[in-house]
């Protein structure tokens, strides 16, 4: 019971945070998805993403100073790739919010937020490495976990592993 109340309280906080962002950016962001496990909104106008990010970090009532996680996701049904960022106002306001940003599956790009949160630097590199979306404005967008000359983006749903890598048989 206690826990249930807690969660709904955090949901309220997230909703309040969302409404501040919504006030500023209006239709550039989607409606608030008020689920219990991970409340989020989606950035519709992706070109504004860096601006929204900076607003989220700097606004005195938001202060999302901590990016917990940045996940790349493949949505083959929508022909899109996306990232999901989990934010938190660490040690300040203690509210959480998740943001989704999507781009086209082939040659799509998302503005980088590495200049807003350092965390995003490596996470965006990882998302690029695994999914192949570009992050415009990223300081050094190159592969991080796979070798530089690896073919394809391993975490896409339709990924086929290459047969040979420098003469080494790849599929085990």
């Amino acid at each position: 019971m206690e826990e249930g109340k807690n969660i709904s309280q955090s949901l309220q906080e997230s909703a309040a945070a969302y409404s501040i962002i919504h006030e500023k950016f209006g239709s550039a962001i989607s409606d608030f998805d008020a689920n219990e496990t991970m409340p989020f909104f989606e950035v519709v106008d992706t070109s504004l993403w860096t601006e929204i990010a900076l607003f989220m970090r700097e606004h005195p009532k938001l202060q999302f100073n901590y990016m917990a996680c940045l996940t790349g996701v493949d949505y083959p049904a929508e022909e899109k790739l996306g990232i999901i960022c989990n934010f938190e106002s660490l040690a300040l306001l203690n509210h959480k919010l998740a943001v989704k940003v999507k781009c086209a599956r082939n040659g799509g790009s998302i503005p980088s937020v590495a200049c807003v949160w350092h965390t995003a630097n490596w996470h965006e590199r990882e998302a690029y490495d695994m999914f192949g979306m570009l992050f415009t404005g990223h300081p050094e967008l190159k592969r991080i976990l796979c070798p530089d000359d690896w073919e394809g983006y391993p975490l896409r749903k339709d990924y086929k592993v290459q047969d040979q890598y420098h003469g080494i048989k790849v599929p085990y």
């Binding site: 901590y66 917990a68 660490l90 998740a98 350092h118 592969r143 991080i144």
Partner: protein, 400 residues
């Protein structure tokens, strides 16, 4: 005759003799040298490569290269059932398998929205805290090795061995447990287990004291770590640091307290942060001290859990495990406090399959390591070693 300035490398006076440049005189300029530290190097804690640009012993730039231990954790997760991910989580941070399992289990449970028996929660916390001590022992011991003290390392391993023995007795395996399942536990603990854990706590306290006398209080050790690799709190947060690293920078932030899960809210423990008396806040020594203090707190937690433990009567560790784990469609980001920081799992379920659509591990080491470039600038090579050691990376978790 002309003077060339070769981009900060000091000026060189040269003359041209029929198309060839002859160097007449060179300033006492130092040349920068690229030094590949790793992937095989004793103090990179695994297969990490740091490409350092050095000026003498001073590092002007260090660029980490990862991925030597990439084992496609996330791709594997998309191809196995929810319960079968658990053994893979062990292999993320192989020094703290229980904590990784714990983190994954609470994440999926959040998605499934199921109630866990109380005894399960207590056992989970005990094994996770035991494993936290084991992990910190490795961190402290290997840090000693990095700074040249070999003996504390073996003392640490001697005591860690006992913890591994205890966990083996409970779960059947020494490092890769597959003990904390989604919705419960693999088995109940053996009959005498709690008694033995309690004996371990009394055994370990003086040993921890001895360890701190031998290593932490040693003047050479203090001199090697004090004021090295200072990370201010706000930068640390911006880098996404968590766990002992963030606490070392003076931020009182512990997921067990600030985003409580399991039975942690009922337990009495402190979140140790450096006060700036023994160390400079945010330096290597602070991070080391936080780890040493945390072991004490973990011992306290274990003692409390044993005292409050509900009886084993009629207890089935698998009672709450769903027959078939197929969560409703949705996304969840769950996390727990690992010995190295926040281990989070982002899991997306499509509601139809028994396999996760996407399972991302937010690894604390990966994030902590990303500050390496900033931290290492202008440090000496021995200090670089001290900094890497204080980050306490486990490459299994960095590369996943």
């Amino acid at each position: 005759m002309q003077e060339l300035d070769t981009a900060g490398l000091g000026s060189v006076r040269v003359t041209r003799q029929s198309d060839t440049v002859v160097i007449l005189e060179k300033d006492l300029a130092t040349e920068q040298m690229v030094l590949a530290m790793g992937p095989q190097h004793p103090s990179t804690h695994g297969v990490l490569k740091l490409e350092c640009l050095t000026d003498g012993e001073v590092i002007t730039q260090a660029e980490p290269y990862l991925g030597y231990l990439h084992r496609c954790f996330e791709k594997c997760c998309e191809n196995v059932d929810y319960p079968a991910v658990v053994p893979y989580t062990d292999r993320l941070d192989y020094l703290a398998g229980m904590n990784s399992e714990f983190s994954y289990a609470i994440t999926v449970e959040k998605l499934l929205d199921i109630e866990i028996p109380r005894r399960v929660e207590f056992i989970r916390v005990i094994v996770a805290e035991l494993n936290r001590i084991a992990s910190h022992l490795v961190a402290i011991g290997t840090y000693g090795i990095d700074l040249g003290a070999f003996t504390p390392f073996l003392f640490c391993f001697r005591d860690r061995e006992i913890i591994l023995g205890l966990l083996e007795w409970a779960s059947g395996a020494r490092m890769l447990y597959n003990y904390i399942w989604v919705g419960g536990l693999a088995y109940d603990v053996p009959t005498d287990f709690l008694k033995r854990v309690k004996e371990f706590v009394t055994y370990f306290r003086p040993k921890a004291r001895e360890l701190s006398e031998l290593l932490t209080e040693n003047e050479i050790f203090v001199k090697r770590t004090l004021g090295i690799g200072i990370m201010p709190a706000d930068v640390a947060i911006n880098y996404g640091w968590s766990g002992p690293m963030l606490r070392g920078s003076g931020v009182k932030w512990d997921l067990r307290r600030n985003d409580p899960y399991s039975i942690y809210p009922e337990l009495d423990f402190k979140v140790p942060v450096p006060d700036g008396k023994l160390s400079v806040i945010g330096d290597c020594l602070s991070r080391h001290l936080v780890r040493a203090w945390e072991m004490d707190e973990s011992l306290k937690i274990i003692e409390q859990c044993i005292d409050k433990m509900p009886s084993a009567e009629g207890f089935n560790p698998r009672s709450a495990i769903p027959k078939r784990i197929r969560p409703k469609a949705g996304e969840v980001y769950g996390r727990a406090e690992n010995p190295r920081g926040e281990l989070g799992f982002y899991i997306e379920s499509d509601g139809k399959s028994t396999k996760p659509l996407r399972c991302k591990a937010r690894s604390s080491c990966f994030v902590n390591l990303s500050a390496m470039k900033d931290l290492s600038k202008g440090q000496l090579i021995p200090d670089l070693v001290a900094i890497i050691g204080s980050i306490d990376i486990v490459l299994g978790e960095v590369d996943r």
